[in-house]
Amino acid sequence: MESFLARFRHITVLLLLLMAQLLLLAYQVKTNQEVRLIRIWAVTAVTPLARAVESVSVYWNNVFTTLVRQREVLSENERLKGEVSKLRIENQYLQGELATADRAKVLLAFAQTIPSKTKAARIIGSGTGSNARVVYVDRGSADGIARNMAVVTSKGIVGKVASAYPTASLVTLVTQQGFVAGVVSQVSRVQAILRGTGSDLCTLDYVRNPFALQDKEWLYTSGEDRVFPKGFPVGQVRVTKKSNTEFEFKVQPVALDHLEEVLIVVEGIHGAIPDPAPAPSQEVVILPPPPPAPASAEAPAAGAEGFGSTDADRLREKYRKLGEAQGHTYGGSPGRPPDFNKAVPSAQPKPASAAPGKPEEGKPPAAPKEPAPVKP
């Protein structure tokens, strides 16, 4: 035994390590519980460093821009004295500072325009997996962040908090596979489900009325997922017609480019789907939403469109019309009985059916509607 273990000690250690990790993995998979402690340690250990580097990077970023601009300034104003240029540099530097401040300001301004209570957070890292679409933000449970809170920017929705650690939180992005949010289109008010696919584009599922949804229409959160408050922009939908009845809907989330600062919705309050442009954002080049439809009255009430009808309903409608056309009150109006063989007056009277006693040709019994045309 002794010599055996000694002889194969490398392989034994390897197997032990693997076994231990397999057990760890098995524990997580079977109990469906995270080894949260390990994660909390790891995240808490790394965030301060990340925060530090983040602020350093912001600083250097500013300095770098400043330097670039300084050279421009020098070449343009070479006859200016060093003192002046020094002032300029200072000025430029302050402007750079301002630029970052501006960004924060936009977010702040945006935060004030929406009814929901939010907390600003800065993105400090991304996930380790190669195709994972997650980011770390520098606010955690200590700041009142909890799982399932919505994460947005002034441009639109970003994702939601997947786990909150003391000093940081992991945010699942909209594009992460399996991500789902309820959306509604701005013009046609079509409801659908936005689904992350793991790529840059999301898809729309369960589109209530695929025919009404227009290409390039803006989508907003519908609030029905109970995660995102209603009224946040999501993105423009791209409709591809696959066949007469089949459509493909792709959505590129608007808010995911150059993510720096985000807002975490601590207390969501549903807003309205904005009719005019959403809150102005100075970073946006393209003006996002087109003006809304003049009347959104045709917005289908939830549930109404899902109502099925049977042959009985169609037949009832037919007989009702038939009675109306002949001025007959069912069960009442003693006197002239109705003629149930008259065609339902749909458009123009047909000469063939006007002749009394001339019934229609034997029609299939299950035909739901009275077929009017008579063969010539």
Binding site: S3, L14, Q21, L22, L25, S57, G127, T128, A132, V134
Partner: protein, 178 residues
Amino acid sequence: MTDFDNRLMDIAPREPAVTRFRPLSWLVVPLLAIWFQVFVHRFVGYVSYLELPLLVTIYFSMMRRQPIIGSVFGACVGLAQDSLSDHYVGMFGIVKTMVGFIAASLSLRFDVDSPLLRLTVTYALFVFHQMGYWAVAKFLVGQSVDLQLPQMAIQGFLNALIAIPFYLVLDRLKEEAR
């Protein structure tokens, strides 16, 4: 000494080529690599194909030439990486344990200072790592992950290319060999 070691000595009767590093570098380098993996990606998007923790694992295991140390080191790096991800802890750990072991075992037989060998080993282990991760995700955890072979091949090559200068940088951390 066991017979196994004796035989190894017979096969590779080189100088005890165990490279020693300053103790701190065992801690700092992998941490930096992981930190890079998590927090630098977002600044420079196009480096996302880079698997620095893996390269570090391969390098240290190869240079240390002890399968046990390689395995333990790989496990530590993998687990650290896992705990900062959104998946189960242990997925990278298992794969990197094996990578560490294999890298160290290979180094017992080959000259680890040759750039060509480093390139080949890194490439092979990168592919092994990705396949291993895929297998763990698919069969142990039951996730549906796509195995994108061509992409993997290209990424492996790029990682291997980066690895050569990267290893040269790391070579500077060596203490003088005994």
